[in-house]
C-alpha cells in the first residue's frame, strides 16, 4: 500500500520529540528506580555507572520528566477532557479487547483508555514528584521528618509501580494495535488506522483540512 495509502498527520515533530523525551525519561526512571527497589535488580545500576550514580541521577531524570511531561500535558490536556463517547468506550472495553471497536461509537483523537493513561500518568507523576522531592535527601532532607520521608518512600514506590503498570498498558496497546507506532515515529498514521480506531478524529481532521484550517494536535 506504500505510496498509495493515504495518511493523516497525527503528531507534529515537536510533539513527537516531547513524547520521546518523556518516554526515555520514564524508562530510565523505571530502570534506575527498579534497581534500587529490589536487590535482584540492583545490577541495573550498572547502566548508570553504579549505585551511587544511579542514586544521584534518578531524581535529575525525574526533573527532566517533570518538564517534559508538563509539555505533553499542555499539548494534550484539552483533547483528553471527557467526551460523550467515553462512557460507551469504557462499557465496551471487552469488545475493544476482542478487537471489535466497530461495535463502539466513533472515537475522537483519544479514546477513554488513552485518556485514562494520560490522566493516570498525570496524577502519578504529580505524586512521584512530590514524594520524590521529600526523599531527595541531597537537597531537601531538612524539610521533612523521617516519618514523612517513610510515607513518601512507600508512596513513591507504589506510585512508581502504578506508573509502570500504565506504561505497560500504553506500550502494549501501541504494540497490539498495529500501525500505531508510525504516529510517534513518522508523525502520521494511515487513514485506515484512523478510520478503525479514531474515526471521529479522522472526520474532524478532514473537515479541518477542507476548511483550510491547520491540523489540530
Amino acid at each position: 500500500m506504500s505510496g498509495t495509502t493515504p495518511t493523516v498527520r497525527r503528531y507534529t515533530p515537536a510533539a513527537r520529540a516531547n513524547h520521546w523525551l518523556t518516554a526515555i525519561s520514564l524508562v530510565l526512571l523505571a530502570l534506575s528506580g527498579l534497581s534500587l527497589f529490589h536487590p535482584s535488580l540492583f545490577f541495573l545500576t550498572g547502566l548508570f555507572g553504579g549505585g551511587a550514580w544511579t542514586r544521584a541521577i534518578h531524581p535529575w531524570i525525574g526533573v527532566v520528566l517533570v518538564f517534559s511531561f508538563a509539555g505533553l500535558f499542555v499539548r494534550f490536556f484539552r483533547l483528553n477532557l471527557p467526551a460523550n463517547e467515553d462512557a460507551a468506550w469504557i462499557k465496551g472495553l471487552p469488545e475493544v479487547l476482542k478487537g471489535h471497536e466497530e461495535n463502539l461509537p466513533e472515537q475522537g483523537k483519544y479514546n477513554a483508555g488513552q485518556k485514562g493513561v494520560f490522566w493516570g500518568m498525570t496524577i502519578l507523576i504529580l505524586v512521584l514528584v512530590s514524594s520524590g522531592l521529600v526523599i531527595w535527601d541531597q537537597y531537601f532532607s531538612q524539610y521533612t521528618s523521617i516519618g514523612q520521608k517513610r510515607v513518601a518512600m512507600l508512596t513513591h514506590s507504589i506510585a512508581a509501580i502504578c506508573a509502570m503498570l500504565i506504561w505497560i498498558v500504553h506500550v502494549y496497546a501501541a504494540i497490539w494495535v498495529r500501525g500505531t507506532f508510525s504516529g510517534m515515529t513518522r508523525g502520521s498514521v494511515t487513514a485506515g488506522w484512523a478510520w478503525r480506531h479514531h474515526r471521529k478524529w479522522l472526520r474532524e481532521e478532514v473537515q479541518k483540512e477542507q476548511g483550510g484550517a491547520t491540523p489540530g494536535e
Binding site: 542514586r55 518512600m153 498495529r178 488506522w193
Partner: protein
C-alpha cells in the same frame, strides 16, 4: 592471646544488605554477642566520648555556634557519630532537678532497620557479634538507612555522599579492643564486653540505683528491634523519652516493613503479571491490524467522499 575485653573476636559476617542468604529477622542471641553499656546514671556529660570518637576515626566536625544549649554539635552528623544530648528535667515526684545526659549514637540493633532498608548489596553488614557496620565503598548514599532506622542515627556526608554512623569501632573490636568512646569514658559510664556480661553489670547498677530511690531504674534493650548491642542503664526506664526523646518502644516502622516487604514483592509481581497479561492477550487475540476495508474507508473519508 589474653583477650581482655572478654569478647570472642567473632567478626564473621552473618548478614549483608540487599543480598540473599544470611539470617532474617533479629539476630538470634549468642554467646559471641558484644555490647556497649551506657550507664546514664554514671555519665557526667563530659563529651570525652565525642572527642575520642573524632580522634580515633580521624573525623573533623566544623566549629559551630552556641545556640543556648550544651549540645555541640546540635545533632549527629557524618562526623559526629556520637553526641551527648542534655535534658533538664524537674522531677515532679521529688521536686528536684535532674540533668539527664544521654550519649546518642547507633544502637546496633539485632534487627537493624537500616540494613533492611538498604538497597545496595553489602553496603550494610552485620557481624556475628552483633555489630552493624556501613561499608562505604558499597554505599550509594540513597539515605534509605535513615528511613529504616528507628533511632534516627545515620547521616549522609556532604563530602562523599555516603552514610555514616558509629561502627562500634569494628576496627578496634576486631583486634580485641573496646570502642574508643568506652576506653576514654572517665567515669566508666560506657562499658564494653559480651552482652551477657554487660547485662550482669547493668543488673548491679540497677540494684544500686533502686537503693538510691530510683524505683523505675532499668535496662534499655528494646525487644522491638530484637534487642540492641548498645544498651542504656536509665534511672527512669519507664520513661525513656525523657532522655532527649529516646524511643519508648522502638521497632522498624510498619511503613518501612511494608515498603521493604510486601510492596517489594507485590510490586514486581504486579508488573510481571501485567506483562504476562499482555503476552497472553496478544497470543490469544493476535494483533489488531488495520484491514483493507479500513484503509479503503479511510481513504474515502480522506478524499472527502464520505
Amino acid at each position: 592471646m589474653a583477650n581482655t575485653t572478654g569478647v570472642a573476636p567473632t567478626m564473621e559476617l552473618v548478614r549483608q544488605s540487599a543480598t540473599k542468604g544470611g539470617i532474617s529477622g533479629p539476630l538470634p542471641p549468642s554467646a559471641n554477642d558484644v555490647a556497649k553499656l551506657i550507664d546514664v546514671s554514671k555519665c557526667i556529660g563530659c563529651k570525652a566520648c565525642q572527642s575520642a570518637c573524632l580522634e580515633w576515626n580521624d573525623l573533623v566536625e566544623p566549629v559551630g555556634f552556641n545556640t543556648g544549649v550544651y549540645d555541640n554539635p546540635h545533632d549527629l552528623t557524618e562526623n559526629t557519630l556520637t553526641l551527648m544530648r542534655f535534658t533538664e528535667w524537674d522531677n515532679p515526684a521529688t521536686g528536684d532537678l535532674e540533668w539527664l545526659i544521654r550519649k546518642d549514637g547507633c544502637m546496633h540493633c539485632a534487627d537493624p532497620g537500616c540494613l533492611k532498608a538498604c538497597p545496595a548489596p553489602g553496603a550494610i553488614v552485620q557481624y556475628q557479634n552483633g555489630i552493624v557496620d556501613f561499608v562505604h565503598e558499597k554505599c550509594i548514599g540513597c539515605g534509605y538507612c535513615i528511613k529504616g532506622c528507628p533511632f534516627n542515627i545515620p547521616r549522609i556526608s556532604k563530602a562523599d555522599s555516603t552514610a555514616y554512623k558509629c561502627t562500634l569501632c569494628s576496627d578496634r573490636v576486631s583486634v580485641g579492643q573496646g570502642p574508643a568512646c568506652a576506653k576514654a569514658c572517665p567515669t566508666k559510664a560506657i562499658s564494653f564486653g559480651t552482652k551477657a556480661d554487660m547485662k550482669t553489670l547493668a543488673e548491679s547498677r540497677i540494684k544500686d540505683l533502686k537503693s538510691r530511690g530510683f524505683a523505675e531504674a532499668g535496662l534499655y534493650d528494646p525487644p522491638g528491634v530484637g534487642g540492641t548491642h548498645v544498651m542504656y542503664v536509665l534511672h527512669h526506664n519507664d520513661q525513656p523519652q525523657l532522655y532527649a526523646g529516646l524511643p519508648n518502644n522502638p521497632k522498624i516502622s510498619a511503613i518501612v516493613e511494608a515498603w521493604k516487604g510486601v510492596t517489594k514483592y507485590a510490586g514486581l509481581g504486579v508488573l510481571g503479571l501485567a506483562a504476562l497479561a499482555g503476552f497472553v492477550h496478544h497470543t490469544v487475540m493476535g494483533a489488531d491490524r488495520v484491514t483493507r476495508t479500513d484503509e479503503e474507508n479511510g481513504k474515502r473519508v480522506k478524499d472527502g467522499v464520505a
